[in-house]
C-alpha cells in the first residue's frame, strides 16, 4: 500500500480535493501500463470517481493491483446488469485513504456467464457475488460459498434478467 495520510488525521475539503485529483490522474496514467490491452477504457468521470472497462479475464488481476498498490480497500458494490446482448458486472471499489471510488465495468457474454471471483481479495464481495448469481445467473469461479442467497435454493429462474417478465397486474 502506498504511503498516504492516515485516515484518522483531520483533513480539510480543499486539501482533499487536491489530493484526490492527483491520485485519480496518477491512476489514469499508470493503470493501462499495468493491465495492458485488457483495460479497454479508463477515464475520470468526476471528482473522486473513475470509470474503467476491463475484459473479464483481467478483472482479478486489476482488482489485485488496485487493492495492493493503490489502497482500494473497500468493495462497495457489485451490480449485475442485463444489457440484453450481454451481461455487465459493475464493481464499485472505494479507496478509503484516497477518498476515491472506481467503477469497473466487466462485459460478460450471455452464453458463458462466468467471471473470476474477487471474494478472496475482499471478504465483503462474498454476498454481493452470491446475489449477482442469484438474480442474474452469473457464475463466479473460485467463490467459497456459491449458492443462492435471497431466493430458495431450488428456484429455477434468474429474476432480474430482462427476459424474466413480471406478472402484469
Amino acid at each position: 500500500m502506498q504511503s498516504t495520510p492516515s485516515t484518522d488525521a483531520p483533513i480539510s475539503r480543499k486539501e482533499m480535493s487536491l489530493l484526490v485529483s492527483g491520485f485519480e490522474k496518477r491512476l489514469e496514467r499508470e493503470l493501462p501500463g499495468k493491465i495492458g490491452p485488457d483495460l479497454m477504457e479508463i477515464s475520470i468521470k468526476k471528482e473522486g470517481l473513475l470509470a474503467a472497462v476491463v475484459e473479464r479475464n483481467s478483472i482479478l488481476k486489476l482488482c489485485r493491483i488496485l487493492r495492493d498498490n493503490y489502497g482500494f480497500d473497500h468493495l462497495s458494490l457489485v451490480s449485475a446488469v442485463d444489457m440484453r446482448s450481454r451481461f455487465e458486472l459493475v464493481y464499485h471499489i472505494t479507496s478509503y485513504p484516497n477518498y476515491c471510488m472506481i467503477e469497473i465495468k466487466v462485459p460478460v457474454p450471455k452464453d458463458d456467464p462466468k467471471v473470476q471471483s474477487v471474494s478472496n481479495l475482499w471478504g465483503g464481495a462474498n454476498w454481493h457475488e452470491r446475489e449477482a448469481y442469484d438474480m442474474m445467473g452469473i457464475v463466479f469461479e473460485g467463490h467459497p460459498d456459491h449458492r443462492r442467497i435471497l431466493l430458495p435454493q431450488d428456484f429455477k429462474y434468474f429474476p432480474l434478467r430482462k427476459d424474466f417478465r413480471m406478472e402484469e397486474d
Binding site: 485516515t7 484518522d8 473522486g48 462497495s76 477518498y99 471478504g123 465483503g124 464481495a125 435471497l150 431466493l151
Partner: protein, 360 residues
C-alpha cells in the same frame, strides 16, 4: 454436550425481523455460524425496473422501516445525479435536518432493541419514549410516521410547517438533556459492561476487508464516514465530528451510536441556523437520460449506495441497491466465532439489523 446446530430464526426473538442465523455450538461456545437471509425478499430491484422514476419514490421508503427517509433521500439524490439536477440550497438543508432527525430516531430504535435483547426493558421503553419526539417531528414534516416519502426528485415535498424550526430546537434541547439519563443506564451498569466489553471483536483490518461500514466500522477504530469523506448535500458546510471508538466490540458500537446522536443534534442545530430562504423544489424532467449514476450516503446503518442506469425512458433500466446490513450480516461469522450462545444476541443486536433493506 456434543456439537449441535441451533436455528435462531426465522421466528426467534433475537432476529429483529425475518432471518435465520444457524449457529453450531459446542456446549455453549459457538464454533460455526451461518446466516441465511431472503425471508423478506420482495423483489424491489425488479419492481424498480417496471415503475416510472416518480412511482419509485414511495417504494424506496419501504426499504427500511427504521430509517426510511435516508433511503428515500438516497433514491432522489441518485436520480438527481443521473439527471444532472441542481436542487435549491434550502432543500439541501431541509434534507440534512430531516436525515439527522431520522438518524436519531433510528439510533434510538437501535438502543431500544439492544437493551431489550440484553434483558433491560427499561432502556427499551426510555428510548422508545424519546424516539417518539423525533417521529413527531418527521410527522409534522411529512404527515406520516413511518414511511415519509418526503424527499422528491428535485427537492422535498413541502417547506417546513410553521414553527417547525422552534419545535426542532426544542426537541433537540430536550433530547440533549435526556442523553445523560440514557447513558447512565448503560455506562454505570456493571452487567452492561460485562455483556458488551470484548464481545464481538472485529479488528479494523477485518472490518474494512469484509466491507463493514457505518457505526460498526467506526467502532472498529476507523474514522470513516461518507458524510465527511465524500460529502453530499451540504455536509461539507456543517461542522461535526466523526465518532469512532478504539474498542472494536459491542461496547464501542454502543458508544459510537450514542455519540453520533449528540453529533446529529449539533448538525440539526446548524442546519436550522444556516438554512437560507427560497424555493424547496425544482421542476424535474420525467425522462432519465441514457447513462448511469451513483449516489452514496451514510445511512444510520452504514454506507448506502444506489446505482442507477437510465435508458432514455421514464423508467430506470436498472436500479441496484447496496444495503449496508447486507454486507455486515455476511461478517456475522467472524464476529461470532468463539463466543457464547448468550453473546449472539449482544453481537447481532449491536449491528442494528434491519431486514427490509437487507433482503430488498
Amino acid at each position: 454436550m456434543a456439537e449441535m446446530w441451533i436455528n435462531m430464526g426465522p421466528q426467534h426473538p433475537m432476529t429483529h425481523g425475518l432471518w435465520n442465523l444457524r449457529v453450531k455450538v459446542d456446549g455453549e461456545v459457538i464454533v460455526d455460524a451461518m446466516p441465511e437471509i431472503g425471508y423478506l425478499h420482495r423483489g424491489m430491484e425488479k419492481i424498480f425496473e417496471n415503475k416510472t422514476y416518480t412511482q419509485i419514490g414511495p417504494i424506496t421508503d419501504r426499504l427500511c422501516y427504521g430509517s426510511s427517509f435516508t433511503w428515500n433521500h438516497l433514491y432522489c439524490m441518485t436520480v438527481e445525479n443521473l439527471m444532472d439536477l441542481e436542487i435549491p440550497e434550502r432543500a439541501k438543508y431541509i434534507r440534512v435536518a430531516a436525515i439527522e432527525i431520522q438518524r436519531i430516531a433510528s439510533h434510538l430504535m437501535w438502543i431500544a432493541a439492544f437493551a431489550a435483547d440484553l434483558g433491560l426493558l427499561t432502556g427499551f421503553l426510555w428510548a422508545m419514549r424519546d424516539r417518539e419526539i423525533f417521529i413527531d417531528l418527521l410527522q409534522a414534516l411529512s404527515g406520516s410516521r413511518l414511511t415519509y416519502n418526503y424527499a422528491r426528485i428535485g427537492g422535498v415535498t413541502a417547506d417546513f410547517p410553521p414553527d417547525f424550526e422552534r419545535d426542532c430546537i426544542r426537541a433537540v434541547d430536550y433530547f440533549e438533556k435526556k442523553m445523560p439519563e440514557h447513558e447512565s443506564l448503560y455506562d454505570s451498569s456493571k452487567i452492561f459492561h460485562m455483556r458488551t466489553r470484548g464481545i464481538g471483536v472485529l479488528s479494523r483490518e477485518d472490518a474494512i476487508n469484509l466491507g463493514v461500514t457505518g457505526p460498526t466500522l467506526r467502532a472498529s477504530n476507523a474514522k470513516l464516514d461518507v458524510r465527511k469523506d465524500r460529502p453530499y448535500e451540504v455536509y461539507d458546510e456543517i461542522d461535526f465530528e466523526v465518532q469512532c471508538h478504539t474498542d472494536c466490540d459491542c461496547w464501542g458500537r454502543y458508544r459510537v451510536r450514542m455519540n453520533e446522536m449528540r453529533e446529529s443534534c449539533k448538525i440539526i442545530r446548524q442546519a436550522i441556523a444556516k438554512m437560507p430562504k427560497g424555493p424547496v423544489r425544482v421542476k424535474t424532467p420525467l425522462i432519465g437520460p441514457a447513462r448511469d449514476a451513483i449516489g452514496v450516503v451514510e445511512d444510520p446503518r452504514g454506507e448506502g449506495i444506489m446505482y442507477v442506469i437510465g435508458d432514455g425512458t421514464d423508467r430506470p433500466y436498472r436500479l441496484k441497491v447496496r444495503s449496508p446490513l447486507f454486507v455486515i450480516l455476511s461478517a456475522a461469522k467472524p464476529m461470532l466465532l468463539g463466543y457464547k450462545v448468550a453473546d449472539v444476541v449482544a453481537i447481532m443486536g449491536s449491528i442494528d439489523v434491519c431486514m427490509g433493506e437487507t433482503d430488498k
